[in-house]
């Protein structure tokens, strides 16, 4: 059972914060008396609130993102700040829990008087926090929540990563046009909305490009035996299997395929991106491909510059989540600059007009649904690591 990772489980279980409607009537200034938040936002310059899982099962998501957010803000401050004043970040821990995320956002808005919010990695938490940000009219930008529902919460919610269905389309294009595959089997995790979404768009896009889906199979997160599915795929003419699941099952599926003598590559999405993929899958994954947000060895000059700065500051390589965290902060600060004020409405409008912003993960242009139009990369697995293979444009 995979507790380690990851977003976009739409546990829509948004623990209610219905009483907040009352707070709204009081207006943004109604900080609880006794709040020691210090000077009010007006005299202080830009205050960014970051809510993240700094502890708990997904702690490394939150910590990586937070480091990158701080790096972006430190760089902005070193360059003279934004609107002539230094930028301040307030980070609150949500422990990977959606109720905590909701209360962290409430506190950031009421007690810390933030002008804008960054968060979360996990889609379920971004949904929880986003509903409050939307209700209070504070712009929020999610670094890496890929579930389409996140920005559908309302017009104050943005993100800097691509959305789930896009990855299915990217891999279908790559499989059909670059790998020239005619027949592919699909193996999806039926317990995971992310996996189902990717598999659906892959299927539609691959068929639209003239390819054939030879077989559709499924598994459930937490399964350990995949021999039945692999044996069934072996009976078809499939030239590859699309497995848009998470790394632990994917690793085991690759090993099972190798064991049963099925010699076709696996194709997948960003749920593969974890070191455990290689410790479980071993050499059985050689020759497989997955789509991702960025590739360390295929980064733009700006991306390389960020990676070097991150390493100097924190003594470790940034993850893809870190890259997106940096972009979220950078896009936000850019919008504040263009707005020329910290007024939430003006910042929201500026965010919506983001066009061709040169981020560390690529060029970012917000579409009308507040999702970025940006490219994805394809990584190839060779000798126990993922190497850059291609960039696929939207």
């Amino acid at each position: 059972m995979d507790f380690g990772r990851r977003r976009w489980f739409c546990l829509a279980a948004l623990t209610c914060v219905a009483q907040l409607g009352a707070c709204k009537k009081l207006g943004g200034d109604a900080a609880p008396s006794g709040s020691s938040a210090g000077a009010s936002a007006a005299t202080q310059g830009v205050v960014i609130g970051h809510y993240a899982s700094m502890t708990g099962n997904t702690a490394h998501f939150g910590q990586d993102t937070d480091k990158a957010v701080h790096l972006a803000v430190d760089e902005a401050n070193a360059a003279g700040g934004v609107l002539g004043k230094p930028v301040k970040v307030v980070t609150l821990d949500d422990r990977g829990d959606s109720a905590e995320a909701a209360s962290a956002v409430t506190r950031l808005i009421d007690v810390e008087h933030v002008n804008a919010l960054i968060g979360e990695v996990a889609s379920s938490l971004s949904l929880a926090g986003g509903r409050i940000a939307q209700r209070r009219g504070i712009p929020m930008i999610s670094p890496s929540s890929t579930n389409p529902k996140v920005t559908q919460v309302g017009d104050y919610i943005f993100r800097v990563c691509f959305i789930d269905p896009f990855q299915g389309k990217v891999m279908a294009t790559f499989a059909r046009n670059t790998l020239k595959l005619d027949e592919v089997a699909i193996l999806r995790d039926v317990k995971n909305d992310y996996s189902i979404g990717l598999a659906d768009t892959f299927k539609a896009s691959f068929a639209a490009l003239g390819g054939k889906i030879s077989l559709e199979q499924s598994y459930s997160a937490g399964d350990t035996d995949f021999s039945a599915q692999v044996t069934a795929v072996k009976g078809t003419k499939a030239q590859a299997i699309y497995v848009p699941g998470y790394y632990s099952e994917v690793g085991a599926i690759a090993r099972t395929a190798k064991r049963l003598g099925l010699k076709v590559p696996l194709l997948g999405g960003d749920g593969w991106d974890a070191p455990e993929l290689f410790s479980i899958g071993g050499d059985a994954l050689d020759g497989s491909y997955f789509s991702n947000h960025f590739a360390a060895d295929g980064a733009s000059p700006k991306g390389k510059q960020f990676m070097a700065a991150f390493k100097t500051k924190y003594g470790q390589e940034p993850t893809g989540l870190g890259m997106l965290g940096y972009d979220a902060a950078a896009v936000l600060l850019d919008a504040v600059k263009r707005a020329g004020t910290t007024n939430p409405k003006a910042v929201r409008d500026a965010l919506a007009q983001t066009k061709g912003f040169e981020g560390v993960t690529g060029k970012i242009t917000m579409d009308k649904d507040r999702n970025p139009e940006k490219s994805a990369v394809i990584l190839k697995i060779q000798g126990g690591k993922a190497v850059y293979e291609a960039t696929v444009q939207p």
Binding site: D2, F3, Q217, S220, T224
Partner: protein, 305 residues
């Protein structure tokens, strides 16, 4: 056709593992009329002790050097993990079941669930909840015959499972402890009057059942590639169904039930849909409880009132 035989082989090897676990359920039930719900967690702990023993004996070094883990050391891992689990089983019995042995039958059932939850969460704390790749205690070799692929791991599962089951059968039928176990399963009080050390016999039952579960855990890890702290939940439940299917309390029945459940699961996943692989097991449970509650090989015992 080769696909069909492949599914059969995969099903039989999965079924052998269920059978090994089912033996533990059935032995304990046969004697104490207790469903030991912590048995799935003993299976999980057995898999983890194999994992740590193998890395303690340097399996990574052999792997890095490109050599297989020596068979002798693999057997050491198996035997030590079985011993460690036997100890765990005895400990569970002493701490959680013996103090409530004379209580109504619901009480030990509830402590069993408590022990099960405790072990699951302790394992998540100790081993982290992340799945781990099982170390290559046996180097994987593949044999292909007419499109059907058999690995030496599947063969080892059959051989080890068969050897342990035959061994258990001989133990129960031929030794004094085995005879004492059978006596207890008939009537504990009468057995005590005949001078049988009831506590020692129950301890032995838990030790043997737990050791078999540990063997199942190691074979499971080798076959299924990854292990995790919750692996014992569903696998344990399926093995329990296997024991009920064969006739709970009946040793050959547990073996037959295990193999049937393994086959049913694999064929359902292969030819119907993998979505129903778990459902079929429990459908079988419902059907058997309705049609033949004593199980395939079980006998109805008249209870005198």
């Amino acid at each position: 056709m080769s696909e069909f035989f492949q599914q059969i082989i995969n099903g039989l090897s999965l079924g052998s593992i269920y059978a090994l676990i089912a033996l533990g359920y059935t032995m304990v039930y046969g004697i104490l009329k207790l469903i030991n719900f912590a048995h799935g967690e003993v299976f999980m702990m057995g898999a983890y002790s194999g994992y740590y023993l193998a890395s303690w004996l340097g399996v990574e070094r052999y792997q890095a050097a490109g050599r297989g883990f020596p068979l002798g050391l693999a057997l050491v891992v198996l035997v030590l993990a079985m011993a460690a689990s036997a100890l765990l089983g005895v400990l569970i019995e002493a701490l959680a079941y013996r103090p409530v042995r004379s209580a109504p039958r619901l009480t030990p059932l509830i402590t069993a669930i408590g022990v099960s939850l405790f072990l699951q969460n302790a394992a998540m704390l100790l081993f982290t909840p992340n799945p781990r790749a099982y170390p290559p205690i046996l180097r994987e070799l593949r044999f292909a015959a007419g499109g059907v692929i058999v690995t030496n791991i599947k063969l080892a599962i059959f051989v080890v499972a068969l050897a342990l089951m035959v061994g258990l059968h001989l133990f129960v039928q031929r030794t004094w402890t085995g005879r004492a176990m059978r006596a207890l399963s008939m009537n504990i009080d009468a057995a005590r009057l005949m001078g049988i050390d009831v506590n020692a016999t129950i301890r032995a039952t838990f030790a043997i059942g737990s050791a078999l579960a540990a063997a199942g855990g190691i074979l499971f890890g080798l076959d299924q590639i990854t292990i995790n702290p919750l692996m014992g939940v569903l696998t344990g439940l399926k093995a329990f169904v296997a024991a009920v299917l064969g006739g709970i309390g009946n040793i050959p029945g547990a073996v037959v039930g295990g193999l049937l459940i393994g086959l049913a699961e694999q064929l359902t996943a292969g030819y119907l849909s993998p979505d129903y692989r778990d459902a079929i097991t429990f459908l079988i449970l419902v059907v058997i409880l309705v049609l033949k509650p004593e199980g395939l090989l079980g006998v109805v015992r008249q209870e005198k009132v």
